[in-house]
């Protein structure tokens, strides 16, 4: 019943929406899926052909067990998000529990919906590969067997996580569920990155000790293929299916089925008991106060008019007080540390070996450029949409939309340019490409950061969303796509101009600094021109907007 309602909602929001944009979006989404499926099928087919020509000995039990263990991580994350969402954020739980049905059946049906959703997602990602494997192995039951595994495997995770969620809501204050989920997501993303760095053979130090006999190309996780864990059962049955050993496959699938059935039955009853015992009642909200830091904030924007300053300060407060918003700001910095920090000494030595001059100075800007990519998209594209349903406050005030956009440009460009400047200065100090080159590179980085962020604000205004309730849906996918595309064009143009300036200096014997400065000025000027254009388009869209 719940599944049917979800399907109806999906159809109503897409094909039945009667909105051209949504219908086009649905068709485009379906086309992208078909395209990805075709690619997946082709790559699998190529892989199968290659394995026929050059036989490779792979421990499929270990490989599939590791894959299912990694999938367990995905299941834990998505199930926790789904369960906490269902308990804390979705408004329909009270309605369902008020219906004349047992609490156990309502909570169990939630678990079934989650299992079905994960099952479909698994098929979505692996379906074409399984079909190709079935054709290549002349064994048409392969997709069916794996589908059974995909249906059974998530059950124990979903049940355990649902129970854990019922316990967790006991300690999560009402109204902070979204923030806790965000924090959890960040923690998990960092953990996955670190785990990848530590376990992925491609990234690991060659001197890292392995157990003897383990394949060099596979992560060495001993428990993954243990016969005591579900990942080991699924790995063994999957491996047996591929080998055509149906008896072994059936035995392990049966074990998974029996365990899942017991866990599901016990979990349903236990979740009902936990609910009835009052575990659902979340912690009452704590009164949260605003810390008076007005003077400090006002001192930070002394040159702006009161209206602009008011919006900049308000945005800063909104972004720093809302964990979900704050994460958008902090995440890129953390990930940059994870990506570069762990490989820092080797990278620094490589760049320093280039000596003085623009190549070293510009390569030193790469971390700042990655930060700019992330921050300009997260802060710039979302700057206008950040208002959400509160946009009426500004729309009813005696100010023009251009002034509003001006404020948004300041609000997004100030923190972005500051962070980019700090990263650029730090990198140039470490690399030491020569004072003149370093100072010029930093100034250009700051100018480019401001221009690119303003460009994103303009695109964000064109594709602004004001009806979001979840910060994750604040930005329009088309806006993100265009923003990323334009960022790539600006990056490619800057790189090309750098190469042209070096070549020109070599060919004409002009001083390299002159040609480089000219090239970078053209690059920044181009970005500013595109940014101005995007602001004009954005303003046009906001002027035509009706706050209904």
């Amino acid at each position: 019943m719940l599944w049917r309602v979800q399907l109806q909602m999906f159809i109503n929001q897409t094909v039945r929406s009667r909105q051209a944009g949504r219908i086009v979006g649905t068709i485009a989404g379906a086309a992208v899926i078909l395209f990805a499926w075709a690619w997946e099928g082709i790559i699998t087919w190529v892989g199968v052909l290659a394995s026929h020509r050059v036989p490779v000995r792979i421990d499929t039990v270990h490989l599939l067990s590791v894959a299912f263990l990694a999938y367990t991580g995905v299941l834990v994350f998505s199930s926790l998000v789904f369960s906490l969402n269902a308990l804390l954020l979705n408004p329909d739980l009270d309605m369902l529990l008020a219906a004349p049905r047992s609490v156990e059946s309502v909570l169990a049906s939630r678990m079934v919906v989650q299992v079905l959703r994960l099952f479909l997602l698994s098929l979505l990602f692996t379906g074409p590969a399984l079909v190709v494997l079935a054709i290549a192995n002349h064994n048409l039951l392969i997709p069916l067997a794996f589908a059974t595994l995909f249906l059974l495997y998530p059950i124990f995770v979903v049940v355990i996580i649902s129970l854990v969620s019922l316990l967790l809501v006991r300690v999560i204050p009402v109204g902070r569920g979204r923030e806790i989920l965000t924090l959890f997501g960040v923690g998990l993303a960092i953990a996955i990155n670190l785990a990848n760095f530590l376990l992925n053979p491609a990234l690991r130090d060659p001197g890292f000790a392995r157990r003897p006999g383990t394949a060099l190309s596979l992560p060495d996780i001993p428990a993954a293929s243990s016969a005591w864990f579900p990942s080991g059962w699924a790995g063994r049955s999957g491996s047996a299916v591929l080998a055509g050993d149906w008896q072994t496959a059936g035995r392990w699938i049966l074990l998974l089925l029996a365990t899942s059935a017991v866990v599901f039955a016990a979990g349903s009853v236990l979740s009902g008991r936990l609910y009835m015992a009052g575990w659902i009642q979340a912690v009452p909200p704590r009164r949260r106060h605003a810390t008076p830091r007005v003077r400090r904030l006002k001192a930070a924007v002394p040159l702006l008019s009161p209206v602009l300053a008011a919006i900049v300060i308000k945005d800063w407060r909104m972004r720093t007080r809302d964990l979900a918003q704050l994460v958008r700001f902090i995440m890129p910095v953390v990930f940059l540390f994870v990506i570069f920090g762990l490989r820092f000494p080797r990278l620094l030595a490589a760049v320093q070996s280039l000596g003085d001059g623009p190549p070293a100075a510009v390569i030193g800007l790469i971390p700042a450029w990655i930060l700019l990519f992330s921050l300009s998209i997260s802060l710039g594209l979302s700057a206008v949409s950040l208002e959400g349903k509160n946009f009426w406050v500004y729309a009813a005030s005696p100010n023009t939309t251009l002034r509003f956009l001006q404020a948004k440009c300041w609000s997004a460009a100030l923190p972005t340019a500051t962070v980019v400047a700090v990263a650029a200065v730090a990198a140039e100090i470490l690399i030491r490409p020569g004072l003149l080159w370093a100072v010029t590179a930093v100034v250009l980085a700051i100018a480019q950061a401001a221009a690119v962020t303003i460009l994103m604000v303009g695109i964000g205004a064109v594709f602004a969303r004001f009806d979001w309730t979840d910060a994750r849906r604040m930005m329009h996918p088309v806006g993100i796509f265009i923003g990323m595309g334009l960022f790539s064009i600006v990056s490619a143009a800057s790189a090309l101009l750098l190469v042209i300036s070096i070549a020109l200096a070599a060919a004409t014997r002009f001083p390299l600094f002159t040609t480089w400065l000219a090239a970078m000025t053209i690059s920044v000027g181009g970005a500013i021109a595109v940014a101005a254009l995007s602001i004009l388009f954005g303003n046009q869209r906001l002027r035509g907007l009706e706050v209904g």
Binding site: G175, P285, R287, R288, H289, A290, P292, V294, P306, V307, A309, A310, I311, I313, K314, R317, M318, R321, D322, G388, K389, N390, W392, V393, Y394, A395, A396, S397, P398, N399, T400, E546, V547, G548
Partner: protein, 254 residues
């Protein structure tokens, strides 16, 4: 103070408001009534410049809201129904923000904020985040923000929804005081009792069209019953459905 001429709003084939002609004078407390979906909120949103009329015009203190929106909005205070406010700001910070948007000089703004927080009994909770406020408290903050820049015309969309009886009473007193200063209040409500007791004049809108306008006495004359309540007048002008309701309820029982 406020006038509309043939004000119309269409969404495709749906006409939300049609040829609305209104004249509201200074010092009037004007009630705008109508059933759900009659076009009240659409009208108010056109009058405060949030929606553009499909045709016709609206003037506030002689200024055309479509031609000179910024100039007109400076004279307007607006309280929407179920006002969404910035959750991560405190009431004081929201009022400061609002004051800056309306170009209120900083010292004057701070003085008025202190007075308004006191008036609405929000002093103690003034530094709490708005996310922790009840609907009624948000409504008060919203009204305080609308009054902060000392507007000439105040538009309120269902202002008493969510307010406790004391707060509703307090709001009525504030609005009446506001009108005594020669300023205008234009508000929509479903609570006819409030409209009956407070308003100097009333307008009733149904299916986007104005069906009646005048003082309570004038509306009584219009329906030909001198002692009828506003509720009876309203039901008569907008079409009573009491018989239909009884028939449906009987159908459910069988």
């Amino acid at each position: 103070m406020l006038s509309t001429r043939l004000l119309t709003k269409r969404y495709g084939s749906l006409t939300a408001v049609e040829d609305l002609d209104l004249e509201v004078g200074a010092g009037e407390l004007f009630g705008f009534l109508g059933p759900n979906g009659a076009g009240k909120t659409t009208t108010i949103k056109m009058l405060v410049g949030l929606l553009r009329p499909t045709s016709g015009s609206a003037r506030v203190a002689g200024i055309d809201i479509t031609a000179e929106p910024e100039k007109a909005k400076a004279l307007i205070g607006y309280v929407p129904d179920a006002a969404t406010l910035y959750d991560k700001l405190s009431a004081r910070e929201f009022l400061e923000f609002s004051g800056d948007l309306y170009h209120v000089e900083r010292r004057l703004r701070d003085r008025r904020i202190a007075a308004l927080l006191k008036l609405f009994d929000l002093q103690e909770r003034g530094d709490d985040f708005l996310s922790g406020y009840s609907r009624g408290m948000r409504q008060k903050v919203s009204l305080a923000a609308a009054l902060l820049h000392d507007p000439q015309v105040l538009f309120l969309d269902e202002p008493t929804v969510g307010l406790d009886p004391q707060s509703a009473r307090q709001m009525k007193d504030i609005l009446q005081d506001f009108c005594r200063e020669g300023k205008t209040v234009f508000f929509s409500t479903h609570i006819l009792e409030i409209a009956e007791r407070m308003c100097t004049r009333l307008a009733i809108i149904n299916h986007g069209r104005l069906v009646a306008i005048g003082s309570l006495q004038e509306l009584r004359h219009m329906v030909g019953q001198d002692r009828q309540s506003l509720e009876q007048i309203f039901l008569e002008l907008t079409g009573s459905r009491e018989d239909d309701v009884s028939a449906v309820l009987r159908g459910l029982e069988s």
